[in-house]
Structure formats: structure tokens, C-alpha cells
Amino acid sequence: MSEKFRFLKFLVAVTRHMMWKGVAFVLLLAMSVSAPAALAATSQSGLSVELELSKTQVELGEPVALKVSISGSSDSAEPVVPDVDGLQITLQGRAQSVQIVNMEVKTSRIFTYVVTARRKGEFTIGPAEVTRKGQTIKSDTVRLVVAEPPRSQPTATTQQGGNVIVEASVTNANPYVGQQITLLFRFARKAGASIGNGSYELPSLYNFWSEGIESRREYAQRIRDSDYIVTEVAVPIFPITEGDIDIGAIALRYDELVDSSHSRFDSPLLNDPFARSFFDDDFFKIFRSGEVVKKTAYTAPIRIHVRPLPDEKRPNGFKGGVGNFTMTGRLSGNEVKVGESVTLTITLSGEGNIRDMSDPKLEVEGVKVYSDTPSINVKNYHDVIVGEKVYKLAIVPQREGEIDIPKISISYFNPATGRYEAAAAGPLTLKALPAEREVLTPPSATGPERVVGGQGRQDILPIHERVGPVASNRVTPWLAAVWPIAYSLPLLAYALCFVLVKRRERLRTDTAYRRYKFATRTAESYIKDAHAAMASKKWDEVFTKCSRAVTDYLADKLNVPASGLTPADVKAELSSRRVSEALLKETIEFLEACDYGRFASSRRGPKVAREYIERAQYLIDRFEEEEAIKQ
């Protein structure tokens, strides 16, 4: 049974496979027959027209873009999009696209229209028609569904549970073309309501131009006996088309915590609708008993009527500036030499569409004027667009004398007065001085180029015939030769002299230092005297000089009075300075032996005298190495 079933299943699969193959075969056959015909038709016309809507479902008043793409020709006429009752279709712009694919040039033109619905319902747009060389090509059609937008303002309040009120308005519902108005979007949220993650979405402002500088403020207000926190967003916009313009609904999207115990989350963070709430963190979600509900509130659309600028008394050269402007002019200097430049800075400032203001025109006889791209600075000042446009003109006089720069004015339309006015600067006066006469060096070359400078000068001075050497080449080798010693020698010399002077100064003023430094020299002097005494066989004087050599040496080194210094004093001084015991003992023995030698005749003789002189010298050498008596 099961085998039969399996077989049947196999048969069904094979049959189905064959059926699909058959269908595919039939389709392929149909395509092979129809494709050449279609291709032939296309190649005959060379054109294809397509319609495309950016959105197929919109709310009333919300504009939608309609694109008409014409492929295959760049010289066709503009497409004709038939009027549709209930829709306003306005051409917004055109663009051309050229592509080279596999060495084949493909050209297409795209026409963009703005479609705005005047009533709700379903509409069919098209077909659009394009005519080329007597042939008319039609596009397909597209469908647009227009729905009623959700009511905002008071009714939105009830829809959102009474915690949120949204509304939109404009500061002037009857402006002129180019006059700045402000789209105000306010939403109020009840104090204590748990609302977060708020974001608003402005409608497409196709008929307006905006600097993109919004301002936002927040304040508290009491509405229907409840406290609300109101956030107001002001968007300065400039209408660019005349007639009735609908500004679509502004959508406010936010999260609301629907919870009876929402007071727990009543924090400033939660109250800021544009901030991500601290309590939105997943960690805190586990503690919440309520539910976060995503909600959207819409304002009602606004209709404004844009008036055209009056034709009456429209000045020549008016380019569309609307607002209230002033202008100042300033020269960078009142005097300039012929051929040199001075900058005329013209500053245009005020409220309005300063970008649309025409550029100043300046023509002065005998003066060349070079203009530069103006710099523009625009900012939002209390919901009013104010700006500054700075023109810099280089003025180069071509003749001497007083040059009068006439008044420079730029026309604009002032919506406050309803008249065309002019912002003006000047007139200004410039004194053109004679051109500077060049001071030339003695002729280094001759030739037709050398024409003495000034106004008559027509060309540069001629080339130099000799390559040099110039001054730098003479100095460079000299510097290269002396530089190793040049930098170090003065400093070293000064340092050496400085040390010498310092030492001399100290020797002069510091007695202890001087005695210390000259102690060895004094001792050597006594040793020398001792040698002399030995040579003249004055033995007692040998002992005296040897004793003085050691005692005076120690007195100088230790800065103590030398006269009357007994061995006991020497012992006491050396002991206080912690001189080694052996040296101390040896010194005292030597001094006592000297005293003894002076009076004992048995110790007289050249051998003993030489021994004592050597001992004195030895002791002095030992003390020279003794750290305890060093300063």
C-alpha cells in the first residue's frame, strides 16, 4: 500500500513538473513572438514614458512628488500631465541624466511635479503624453489615495487621552511672496504625565524656502484648569509661490506610560519629551507595572494666502528681496596711488530674505572695479531671520585726482510699509595720488624693457646679465668657516673670566677662604726656610720653622689664630673635627718633639734636621688628604 502510494506521489510530481515545463515553454514561445514586435515598436518611437509617485497614500494637504521620466530621447517636448479634478499639479523642476553603458549612450529626462490634494478621495493621474516628431507616446497611470488627516488641536487632545495638546499656526496667514513668516508648532503635555521619546515631523514645505534655523522654547501654562508644560517650536519660512498654500499636518510621535502608579516616574528626565528617559532602560522595565504606548498626534493643516508683490512702482533691477534692510559703505583708505587698490566694503544687513537681494552695481569713470563673492551670515533672532551680506569691491584708480564714488543702492520690498524701498550707502570720495616712481639701481643691463617707472611704465625692468655673486654668497662661506668657534668662544671666554673674577673677589673679601687656599703655600714657605736654616746649621731654627710650618698650616686651614697655638690647642681643634687618631697622635708628637729639639742640644745635627723637615712635609701632605679639615 505504501509502495503504491509512493509511486502515485512520484507520478503526480512528474506530471506537475511536466506541466510547469509546458507552461514555461508556452510562455517562452509567446515572448519570442511578442518581444521582437515590442522591440520594433520601441525602436520606432525611441521613447518611453513612465509615471512615478513618491507616495500612493497621503493625507489631505500633504504634498506628494510625481516624477515623469522620459527615456530614449533628449529632444522631446515637455510631457503633458492631464489636470485631475481635486488635485493641484505644479511643475517643480526638471533634470537630465546621461549614462554610457556598454558604449551605448542612454539619455533620460525627469520632470518633477508637486501634487497637492484639495479634497479626499481616490484619484487617477495620467497618462502623461509626450510628443516627438508627430508621434505621441503615452505613459501608464498611477493612483493616489487621499485621506482626511487626523484632527489635531482640541480634538487631538481627547484622542490622546487628555495628556497632550498639539497645535500649529503661522504668524501671518496673508504674507507677500518672499516675506518671512514663522510656522509655530506648540504641544502641551500635562504636568506629571509620563511622556518620553517625543519627536515631531514637519510636513513637506515644497512651496517654502527655509534657512533651516529653528528655535525652541518651553514654558508652563494653565489650560482648562490643568497645568501643562508647553514646548513651542518656531520655524521661519519664506513662501516662494503665490496663491493659496496648504501647510500639512505636523505629526508628534511620543511614548506614554499608561500606568496608575506613574507618579513613580515623575522625573524631569521623563518630562522631557525629546529626551530618552532614564526609565526607558531595559533594566527599569522589569519594575514597571504599566505599559508604554506609542502615540501620534497631528495638528490641523493650515492654509495661507500668499500675495504677489505689487507691480506698481517696481524699481528696475529689483531681484526679489523682501524685508527691511540697511546698507553701509566704507573705504579701507581715503587715499590711494594710481594703479593700486583700495577696498570698498559694502555691508547690507537687516530682516528678510537677504540671499535674494541683488548685488550692488558700481561704475565709476577712470576706476576699475573688481567684485568678489559676497559673504553671507544669517541667524535666527527671536524667530526673525536677520542676516548680513558683505560685498568687497577692489577699487583701482586709473587717473589722479578726486574720485567721487556715487551712492550705491539696492532695492527691496518692505512688507511693513507695502512699498518698494532702497538701502543705500555713500556717496564716498577717494583721492587718487600719483603712482609711485620706481627707484632704479645703476644700469645693470640695457634694453628696450627699461622704462623708468611711474605711470608711464609699461614693462618690467630687464634681466640681469651677470649671475652674481650677490651679497649672501659672499657672507655664506665666511660664516661657514667661523661658525664652529663663533658661537662657543665668547661664552667660554666669558665663563672663564667670570670664574677668575669670582675667585679673586672671594680671596679679597673672605679671610677664611684666603687662609685656607694659601695654607699650603705658607707651609711650603716655612719648609723652605727650614731648609735654609739647615744649610746655615741653625738647628734650633730648623725645629722652629718645621713647627711653624705645621701649626700655621693647621691654623690657616682651620681658620684659627696661629700665634700662641700650642700642641694642646692643636689637639683640641683637631679632635673637635674628628681627625683620625693616628694622624692626631703623630702631629702632637711631632710638635712636642720640635719644641724639645729647639732646646735639647743632643738632637742637633743635619740628619735629625732633615728628618724633621721630611716629617713636617709628610704631615702637611697627610693633612692635604684629610677630609676632616677640608672646607
Binding site: 652674481g468 649672501s472 661658525w483 658661537y487 662657543s488
Partner: protein, 273 residues
């Protein structure tokens, strides 16, 4: 005595430290003698090529003359103000105002008081399209620091060394003899040494980090950022001068004498090194 000696010693030490960097850089710039070619041979070759270039120039072959002059200054030979001056003239004849200005500026770095160079530079500047205001403070500063602008780097360094030696001599004399005249001479020469030392250091720094630049193409756009996608603020034309502030790959941030800033393509600019 002691109170006067100590500041002098410290000043001398400061002077030594101050001049250390110019010394090194200057010495490197001069090059050691054995690394340079024989000056006689080199000068001989330079003279020959220079004469040929001059002949080409007089014959109206400015393109060829400019190439020869450029060859001279691009090689290891002598870079003299005269070669740069003639190169500037050739560029001017070819209506390359930016390159002419750059050549004259280089000539002035070697011979800052050369009147022919100054005259031609002024003339070429008067023909450039962009007339850019220089603030009066800049002119005043240039007047105040006239010694810096009137001397080239070796001259400035020579003046520094002379003042440095004088400072040392007077300071040594002060050590041995107390005299007010000597003291004031020491201070005066020290001020001079510091002034010329700073000038030398500035020359060396500017040589190592060149910032002066000039537009070398007919027209270039100055954008608000380093790329063509940034807004075009204004245009500059051949010969417009400015200073380079920073570099990003392929782009230079420049500042004009009137304070305007922007970014230009580095290939449109010649930096005066």
C-alpha cells in the same frame, strides 16, 4: 658687582641656547665644504648656462629661457638672486604672474635690498587681478622690523655674531672694571644680539617651514573645507598671495592678508620655499 654679573651670565647662557637651533639649521643649509662641488667649476657651468638662458630670453624664447633658469636653481649649483630675478622676468613674459611673483620673492630672500627685484615685484603685483588689502598693522610691523626684512639670513646671522662677540667682550670688560659706559655698552650690544638672534631664528624657521604661497594657475576656488564638495567661498586668480596655515591631503588651508581663510588645491599653488 655680584648683582650685575649674574644677569649678564644668565643672558649669555640664554643667548647660547637661543642661537643653538639657528646654528644647526644654518650650518646644515650651508653644507660642509667636502659635500659641495668645487665652486670654481660650478660657477663656470652656471655662468655658461646663465648666458645661454639670457640669449634665449633676448631672442623672445621665454619658455626655453625659463626652463634653463629653473634648471639652474633646481640643481645643486648656486642659487643666486640674479637667476631667480631673470626667472621671474621670463615667467612674467609668459603671463605666469604667480610664478613670477614666487621667483621675485625667492630672489628677495637672497638679496632683500635689490631694487630691480623690488620694482618688478611691485609691477607684477599691480597687474594681478585680486587686489587684497594688507592691514596697516602689517605695514607698521614691517617698518618696525625693518632690519629683519632688509637683511637676508646670512647677513642677519653675521650681524648677530658681531653683536654677540661685542656683548661677550664688553661683559668681560665689565667683570674687571666697573664703569657705567661699559655696562651700557654691554646692555646695548646684548639687545642687538638678541634682536639679530631672533631675526636669524625667524629666517631659519621660515626657511624650514615655508608658509608664503601664491596662486600659480589662472583661477582657483577657495572652499570652506578641504574638498570640492565644500561651499565655494570665493575665487582667487593668478598671482594672489597668502599664507598657508595647514595641510590636508591635496588641500591647503590658506589665510589672505585681509584675514579671509579657506581651502585651495595644493596643485594650484606654489609655496615660496
Amino acid at each position: 658687582m655680584r648683582s650685575f654679573v649674574r644677569p649678564i651670565f644668565l643672558f649669555a647662557l640664554f643667548l647660547f641656547l637661543l642661537t643653538t637651533s639657528p646654528v644647526v639649521s644654518t650650518h646644515e643649509a650651508y653644507g660642509s665644504p667636502d659635500k659641495q662641488a668645487s665652486p670654481a667649476v660650478r660657477e663656470h657651468e652656471v655662468n655658461n648656462v646663465f648666458d645661454i638662458a639670457n640669449e634665449e630670453y633676448k631672442a623672445g624664447n621665454f619658455e626655453d629661457a625659463a626652463k634653463l633658469y629653473e634648471g639652474l636653481v633646481s640643481g645643486p649649483g648656486l642659487k643666486t638672486a640674479d637667476i631667480y630675478y631673470n626667472l621671474g622676468n621670463a615667467c612674467f613674459k609668459l603671463h605666469k604672474y604667480g610664478k613670477a611673483i614666487a621667483s621675485y620673492q625667492r630672489a628677495l630672500r637672497l638679496a632683500p635690498r635689490e631694487q630691480d627685484v623690488l620694482a618688478n615685484l611691485r609691477y607684477v603685483r599691480s597687474l594681478t587681478k585680486d587686489k587684497i588689502d594688507r592691514p596697516r598693522s602689517t605695514e607698521m610691523l614691517q617698518g618696525l622690523l625693518f632690519f629683519h626684512y632688509a637683511l637676508n639670513r646670512p647677513e642677519s646671522e653675521a650681524a648677530f655674531l658681531a653683536a654677540y662677540f661685542a656683548t661677550a667682550l664688553f661683559a668681560i670688560a665689565c667683570l674687571f672694571r666697573k664703569a657705567k659706559t661699559l655696562k651700557w655698552l654691554t646692555i646695548a650690544s646684548l639687545v642687538l644680539a638678541l634682536t639679530f638672534g631672533a631675526s636669524t631664528a625667524m629666517h631659519a624657521y621660515r626657511a624650514a617651514h615655508p608658509v608664503d604661497a601664491v596662486v600659480s594657475v589662472e583661477e582657483t576656488g577657495v572652499h570652506t573645507g578641504p574638498g570640492d564638495t565644500y561651499i565655494l567661498a570665493f575665487n582667487l586668480h593668478d598671482g594672489a598671495e597668502f599664507e598657508v596655515r595647514s595641510r590636508v591631503e591635496g588641500w591647503l588651508q590658506v589665510e589672505l592678508p585681509d584675514g579671509r581663510r579657506g581651502w585651495v588645491r595644493d596643485s594650484h599653488v606654489e609655496i615660496i620655499s
